[in-house]
Symmetry: D2
Subunit: 338 residues, 4 copies
C-alpha cells in the first residue's frame, strides 16, 4: 500500500482549489493538513470545502509543521521564489506553479536553495500531463516519426485576462508562451538555441497600452536543427485552441482539440458539431490531477520529478529572449547559462 | 445553498462503489450515511474508502434510519423489487439500477408500492445522461432534424461477461439491449409498437450453450411510424462501440464514440489514432455522476425523475418481445398494458 | 499496347452520356462507333458531343455492324433483356445497366442467350467500383476484420425521382435497394438467405398513392450467419448518404460519405463543414469510369466480368422477397434457384 | 453558346500534357491547334494523344498562326519570359506556368510587353483554384472569420525532385515556397511587408551540396498587421501535405488534406485510414482544369484574369527576400516596387 503523504497548500485561489479538490477526492494516500492564503478567508473557505484541518493567512506554520512533508505553492508569482526557499530550508518537497519567478536571479537563488536542501522541486507545467500531448511526446520519443524536423504549436486563449493581470504578468511571452516554450522542449527533447518573435496588438488596444501584445508568432531554432513555430492569441472566440504538430523523417503526429461531445448534425447547410471545450479548467482537468500524482510518486520513489527546477527556469529565459527579439526585430540567442 | 440529502447505499459492488465515490467527492450537498452489502466485507470496505459512517450486511437498518431520505439500490437484479418495496414502505426515495426485475409482475408490484408510498423512483438508465447522447436527444427534441424517420443504434461490448453471469442475466435482450430499448424511447420520444429480432451465436459457443445469443439485430417500429435498427455484439475487439444516429426530414444527427486522446499519427502506412475508450466505466463516467445529481435535484425540487418507474418497466417488456420474436422468427407486438 | 475495342452505345440518356464521355475522353483504346436512342435527336446530340460516327433511332445496325465488338446498354429497363438477347445473338459482349429486367423469367431467358452465345455480360452495379466501398471490400476479403458478423448499409437519396418514374420502377426495393442488395453480396461474399423488410411513406404521400414506399429498413440473414441491416430513404435533405459498415471478429470497417471540400470553419457557434456531395453523378463519377474499364479488361483478357449476369439476377430476386416480406410483415426466404 | 477558342501549347512535358488532356476532353469550346516542344518527339506524341493537328519543335509557327488566339506556355522556366514577349507581340493571350522568370528584370520586361500589347496574361498559380483552398478564401473574404490575424500554411512534398532540377530551380523559396507566397497573398488579400526565413538541410545532404535547403519555416508580416507562418519540407513520407489555416477575430478556417478514400478500419491497435493522396497530380487535378477554364472565361468576357502578371511577379520578389533573410538571418523587407 502507498505511504500517505501529508501536504500543505500555499495559495487558495483558483488553481490552489483545483489541487485541493483533487487531493481531497481523487488522490488516495495524500492529504492536506493545512492551507495558507494571504486572504485568510480564502484559506478558511478552502479548509471548509476540502476538509483541511488548519487554515492560516501566513504560510510559516506550514513550513514549521513537522508532519508536513511537502508543499504545493499556488500563491501569486512574485511570492514563489521566497516560499520555495523557505520550504527548502524547512526540508519540505515542493510543487510550485509556473513561473518560478520573473527575475532570473531570484530563480537561480531559489533553485540553489532547493539543491542545497536536497528536496524535490516540481514546476507546474501541467500540459506535459495532458493525455493528448503526452501521447504525442511518447510517439516522438519512441521514434514513430523518425527524426523530428518541424514543430508547430498553436496556443490560443478564449479571452484575454483582465488588464490589471496583464500588467504584472511579464507580458505574453512570460505569461502565455511560457507554456508553449515548455511544450516545445518537452516534445522535441532538446534545447532551443535561437528565437525570433513577431507580434502585434489585434485583440484589444488596452493590451498594447499596457505595454504588452496579444498576438504572437515565434520561430524556434533548436540545437539539433529542428525548426519550430508557436502561434499565440489572447482571444479565440471559438474556445481554447491547443494543438501541436511534430513532423519528422518518418511521419507526423498531430494533436487536435478536445470537444465536449461527439454529436454531429448534418442538414441542408452542412455538417455541424461542437466547438472545443472552453478553457484550461475544462481542457486540462486531468493534467492537474496527473501532475500532482506524479509529484507524490517522485517523493515516494525518490526519483527526479518529471518537471524539474531547470525545466521551470529555461522557459523564463526563452520568454525574455522572445521579448528581446520582438523589440529588436531580429533573432536572439537563448543563453541557458547564467 | 442546496439542502444536504442523506443517503443509504444498498450494494457495494462495482456500480455501487462508482456511485459512492461520486457522492463522496463530486456531489456536495449529499452524503452516504450507511452502506449495506450481502457481503459485509464489501460494505465495510466501501465505508472505509468513502467515509461512510455505518456498514451492514442487511439493508434493514437503512430503511429504518429516520435520517436517511433516499436509497441507492445497486444490489443484484433479483433483489431490486424487494428493496424498492421495502424502501417505499419506509418512505424513502429510490434510485435503482436497471432492470427493476426480470419478472414483470414483480415490477408491477414494486411500482405499485412506489406509487402508494408517494416516493420518487429513478431507474439507472445512465446513458440518457451521457453528454453525447443527451446532445443528440436535445437536437432531435428541438426539431433540428425535423420529423424523425429512422433510428440506428450500435451497442457493442468489448468482451462478454462470465457465462455464470449470462445464465442469470435474462439473456442479451434483457441484459444488454435493454439499454438500447431505453435509448430508442429516449431519442424518439415515442413508444415502439412492434419488434423483430434476429440474432446468433458468433462470439462464443458457450453463450449459445447457456441458452443465449451474443449477436443481435433488432428492428423497431414505432407508433408514430419511425423505424429503428439496433445492433448488438458481446465482443467488439476494438473497445466499447456506442453510437446512435437519428435521421429525419430536415437532417441527421450522429453520435460517435469517445476516444482517449486526439493524437493522430500519419506515416507511410496511413493515418492512425486511438481506438474508443474500453468500456462503460470509461465511456459513461460522467453519466453515472449526472444521473445521481438529477435524482437529488428531483428530490429537492419535488419533480418527476428523468427516468421513471415506467421507463424502467417498458424496456423489460420490449426485451421479452424481442425474445419472443427471435424464437418465433416473426415480428411481435409490444404490449405496454398489463 | 492495349488493343482498341470498338463499342456501340444503346441509350443516350444521362447514364449513357456519362459512359460516352468517359469512353471519349478517359478511356484510351476504346471508341464508340455508333449510338442508338429511341429519341433519335438524343442519339444525334451524343454523336456530336462525343465524336461518335453514327447515330440511329434503332439499335439494329449496331448489332449488325461487324466492326463493333461490344455494346453498352443504357436504354430504359424494359428494353434491357431484349437488347441483351439481340446483342448476344449478334456475338457482341454486353455491358448492361441494372436491373436486367423486372421480370425474372425475362432475366433467365436473357442470361440463357448470353450463355449460349458465349459472350461476356457485365451488369452495371457501379458501386462495387467506388474507391471507398472497394477499399472496404478489400479489407473484409483480406481478413482485416476477421470473420464478418454484422453489416450495415445506409443508402439515402437527396430527393425522390418523379412519380411517373416511380410508377414503372418496380418500387423502392427493386429500384433503390437493389444497389444495396448487390453491395450486401459484394461486401460479405455470401448469399442472403432470408429478408425482413419494414417501411413506410414518410417523404411524400404521392409515393404511397403510387403504391410504393419511400423509407425502408431491411434485415438480411446470410447463409453463413452474418446479419445485415439496410436503411433507405428517398430524401436526405443534406445530400447523398452512402455509407457501409462491416463488423467482424477482429475489427470493423466503416465507409463514410464523400465531401466536396475539406474546409472547416469554427466559430462561436461550433465547427462547420460541407455536407456530402449531392448525388450519384458526383459521388460515383469514378465508379462509372472504372466499371467500363473493367468490362473492357475482361474482354481483352478473356476473363469473367467482375459483375456477372447472376450478380444482376440475384438482387432482383432479393427485391421481390423484400416486397413480399413488407406486404406480409414476416421474414421471407430468398429462393435463388428458379 | 460559348465561342470556341483556338489555342497553341508550348511545352509538352508533364504539365503541358495535363493541360492538353483537359482541353481535349473536359473543356468544350476550346481546342489546341498546335503544340511545340524543343523535343519534337514530345510535341508529336502530344499531338497524337490529344488530337492536335500540328506539332513543332519551335513555337514560332504558333505565334504566326492567325487562327490561334491564345497560348499556353509550359516550357522550361528560363524560356517563359521570351515566349511571353513573343506571344504578346503576336497579339496572343497568354497562360504561363509559374514562375514567369527567376530574373526580376526579365519579368518586368515581359510584363511590359504584355501591357503594351494589351493581351491578357494569367500565371499558373493553380492552387487558387483548388476547391479546398478556394472555399477557405471565400470564407475569409466573406468575413466569416472576421478580421484575419494569423495565417498558417503547411506545404510539404512527398519526395524531393532530382538534384539536377534543384540546381536550376532557384532553390526552395523560388521553386516550392513560391506557391505558398501566392497562397498567402490570395488568402489574406494583402501584401507581405517583411519576411523572416529559417531553414536547414534535413532530408538529403546532396540538396545542401547543391546550395539549397530542403526544410524551411518562414514568418510573414503583412502591411495590415496579419502574421503568417509557412512551413516547407521536400519530403513528407506520408504523401503530399497541403494545409492552410486562417485565424481571425470571429473564427478560424482550416483546410485539411485530401484522402483517396473514406474507409476507416478500427481494430485492436486503433483506428486506421488512408494517408493523403500522393502528389500534385492527384491533389490538384481539378485546379489545373479550373485555371484554364478561368483563363478562357477571362478571354471570352474580356475581364482581368484571376492570377495576373503582377501576381506572378510578387512571389518571385518574396522568394528573393526569403533567400536574403535566410542568408543574413534577419527579417528582410519585401520591396514590391522596382
Amino acid at each position: 500500500m502507498t505511504r500517505p503523504i501529508n501536504l500543505g497548500l500555499i495559495g487558495a485561489g483558483r488553481i490552489g482549489r483545483q489541487h485541493a479538490g483533487d487531493i481531497a477526492h481523487r488522490i488516495p494516500g495524500a492529504r492536506l493538513l493545512a492551507v495558507a492564503d494571504i486572504f485568510e478567508e480564502a484559506a478558511q473557505k478552502a479548509a471548509a470545502d476540502f476538509g483541511i484541518p488548519k487554515a492560516y493567512a501566513d504560510p510559516r506554520p506550514i513550513f514549521d509543521d513537522p508532519d508536513i512533508e511537502a508543499v504545493i505553492i499556488c500563491s501569486s508569482t512574485d511570492t514563489h521564489a521566497d516560499f520555495i526557499e523557505q520550504a527548502a530550508e524547512a526540508g519540505k518537497h515542493i510543487f510550485c506553479e509556473k513561473p518560478i519567478h520573473l527575475d532570473l536571479e531570484r530563480i537561480d537563488r531559489a533553485l540553489a536553495a532547493v539543491e542545497k536542501a536536497g528536496v524535490k522541486l516540481q514546476v507546474g507545467f501541467n500540459r506535459r500531463f495532458d493525455p493528448n500531448f503526452k501521447r504525442a511526446q511518447e510517439l516522438v520519443a519512441s521514434g514513430a516519426i523518425g527524426e523530428p524536423q518541424l514543430l508547430r504549436i498553436t496556443s490560443r486563449d478564449p479571452a484575454p485576462p483582465p488588464i490589471e493581470y496583464i500588467k504584472v504578468s511579464g507580458g505574453i511571452f512570460l505569461d502565455m508562451t511560457i507554456h508553449d516554450f515548455d511544450m516545445a522542449r518537452f516534445l522535441i527533447g532538446d534545447e532551443v538555441e535561437e528565437i525570433y518573435a513577431a507580434g502585434g496588438v489585434m485583440v484589444d488596444p488596452a493590451i498594447g497600452e499596457a505595454g504588452d501584445i496579444d498576438t504572437a508568432l515565434i520561430t524556434l531554432k533548436y540545437r539539433n536543427g529542428v525548426l519550430g513555430a508557436v502561434d499565440n492569441s489572447r482571444q479565440a472566440v471559438y474556445g481554447y485552441d491547443q494543438r501541436v504538430e511534430v513532423f519528422g523523417s518518418e511521419g507526423v503526429v498531430i494533436v487536435g482539440n478536445v470537444k465536449p461531445d461527439t454529436a454531429v448534425l448534418t442538414n441542408i447547410h452542412g455538417e455541424h458539431s461542437a466547438k472545443p471545450v472552453y478553457f484550461f479548467v475544462e481542457r486540462y482537468t486531468e493534467s492537474y490531477l496527473a501532475e500532482v500524482r506524479a509529484f507524490l510518486q517522485a517523493i515516494r520513489e525518490d526519483t527526479t520529478p518529471l518537471v524539474t527546477g531547470e525545466d521551470g527556469r529555461i522557459p523564463v529565459i526563452m520568454g525574455y529572449a522572445a521579448w528581446e527579439s520582438y523589440r529588436k526585430n531580429r533573432p536572439v540567442k537563448v543563453k541557458l547559462d547564467g
